[in-house]
């Protein structure tokens, strides 16, 4: 019997070691970069020599690039959170009826639709970005924008929402579809036979049963919108260096002018040479992502499709 226990121990530690390796790798990946936040002598000297930062140099030479003193950081965070919330809202409004229809009704070519939405999840972000650019900047949609008088690409308001919506919707929709698939349609049929209308049957039986899954899908859609990078980079680009006259009064009122999508800002700052600043933004993103994924695990998100 003790031999059996020994075997069990070896077995468990074998499998634990692989999970532990992944855990240690991931933890070390993030923790080993904490010293990137401290400014090195070399960076200070480089900033003196190149002299393109001017007055801001004193702030940039502080710990983590003094990111909390920079209005750009707060504006970017404001922009990203606001756009992701709008995106999640739109994705929920459009996604729940779509998921319900795909889950319950007989739609011709349903397997093709499923393949389309699933393949969006493994499509490169750059392809999504290029598709958006080609779709909106050529042909009839371009004519439509000329007629409307404003451009979708390289703009904050429709542009960033569209760019983050594409994948956020696809992820949220598959989670909601999985949730509706797991709810037995029989409850709804019983409610219908007792005289409820179709909408009332959905609202009083399926929706409460699917509640936790819907919440999980909302969190998933929001997290994916926060993790968006390439579609925003291709479709919207960066806004920091643009002149103030480029932004409308509405964007200025919302404190979104001359601000970037946070993950694009990480890239832009690191490329620009402000390594500490870029890593500070990156740690902010890691913190936000960590909280949302922890919440997702805690509520036991079914249909976790990452």
């Amino acid at each position: 019997m003790s031999g059996n226990g020994q075997r069990r121990k070896v077995f468990n530690s074998f499998f634990y070691s692989f999970a532990g390796f992944l855990f240690l790798y991931s933890a070390y990946l993030f923790l080993s970069n904490i010293d990137q936040l401290f400014v090195t002598e070399a960076a200070i000297k480089t900033r003196e020599v190149t002299d393109i930062w001017g007055e801001d140099r004193e702030v940039l030479n502080q710990f983590a690039g003094g990111f909390w003193k920079d209005v750009y950081f707060w504006k970017s965070l404001n922009l990203t959170l606001a756009i992701t919330l709008i995106t999640t809202f739109i994705a929920t409004i459009l996604g729940i009826p779509t998921a319900y229809a795909l889950s319950r009704y007989r739609i011709p070519g349903k397997s093709v639709v499923e393949i389309l939405f699933s393949s969006l999840i493994v499509m490169p972000g750059s392809v999504i970005g290029i598709c958006l650019i080609v779709m909106f900047n050529y042909g009839p949609l371009w004519e439509m924008q000329n007629w409307l008088g404003f451009k979708f690409a390289h703009s904050i308001f429709p542009g960033m929402v569209i760019a983050s919506l594409v994948l956020s919707f696809a992820f949220g929709m598959s989670a909601w579809k999985a949730t509706f698939d797991s709810v037995n349609p029989r409850f709804e049929q019983v409610a219908r036979s007792l005289g409820s209308s179709r909408w009332r049957a959905f609202r009083t039986t399926t929706l409460p049963l699917a509640k936790s899954g819907i919440v999980a899908g909302i969190i998933l859609a929001w997290t994916r919108a926060m993790a968006e990078f390439s579609a925003v980079l291709f479709f919207c680009g960066t806004f920091r260096e643009l002149p103030a006259s480029r932004f409308s009064d509405f964007t200025k009122l919302l404190q979104m002018d001359q601000a970037d999508w946070v993950s694009v800002a990480v890239w832009a700052q690191v490329e620009f040479g402000n390594i500490e600043y870029g890593f500070a933004l990156a740690f902010v993103l890691v913190f936000i992502g960590g909280i949302s994924v922890y919440v997702m695990h805690r509520i036991g998100a079914k249909g976790y499709v990452w």
């Binding site: 992944l22 490169p124 392809v127 179709r198 993790a227 690191v270």
Partner: protein, 269 residues
Amino acid sequence: MRNVGLRSRGGWWPALCIGTTGCILAVYILLVTSNWIYLGWHDTLYFFSKSRMWERFWLTVWTATISTSISLFIGIPAGYALSRFRFPCRYLFASIIDLPIVVSPAVVGAFLFGITTRFPFDWISEFYGIYIGRNVYGVLLVQFTVTAAFCARLMKASFDMIPVRFEMVSNSLGAPPFRTFFKVVLPMAKNGIIASMIVVWARAAAEWEGLMLFVGATEGKTDIMPFAIYLDWNGGMMGWVTSMSIVCILMAVSAISAMKIIGGRSNVW
């Protein structure tokens, strides 16, 4: 779809659902096919006949294959451990394992900067004389980092679908745990594992954001296809960009179709 019309009571709800689905589908299909519409048939054939395209394609395929096999080697046991074992602070550990796929991959690429110049990696690269950075090893490391956690996640879902009862029965009949794993669990999870493997491969072939800061693109060395799209886009070569994104779309769609044929479930994965 009988009785779905607006006449039946509350019939606006199914009509709304189907209408929304139709609109969304039209937008997404237009999105995916826009490159074909833009490029036209003859230009597509022209770019597909160039060797530059297929060199990049094979680079993408073999890097994704290698990183997928490393990810599988680690991901299958890790997924089994995450699926079956119960330990304190399980959610915290699982969240940290999931972090590289949850934060933006561009950020992960920035973090890889730090890890390759620190303790185990600098020893390894010095000892073996490998430079991990602006070459193909850097590509493999980025792909591995992003897909390993993804693979563990998918494998956990595949193992979750198998009832624990079979293992219990096998153990109660006297089979040692390793024998149970290889003779009972793995054969039962086979379809799920193959389906997940295809998805992981597609995800590895789609990875490029991490390369942006960490690797950069060298023409003919590290320009895997999604990254080459960015590179040529900056060069203003719209024909190359659209034709390469057609290839990427075809890769993604065929991988997912293969997964569906094998019988993986896209929604719970």
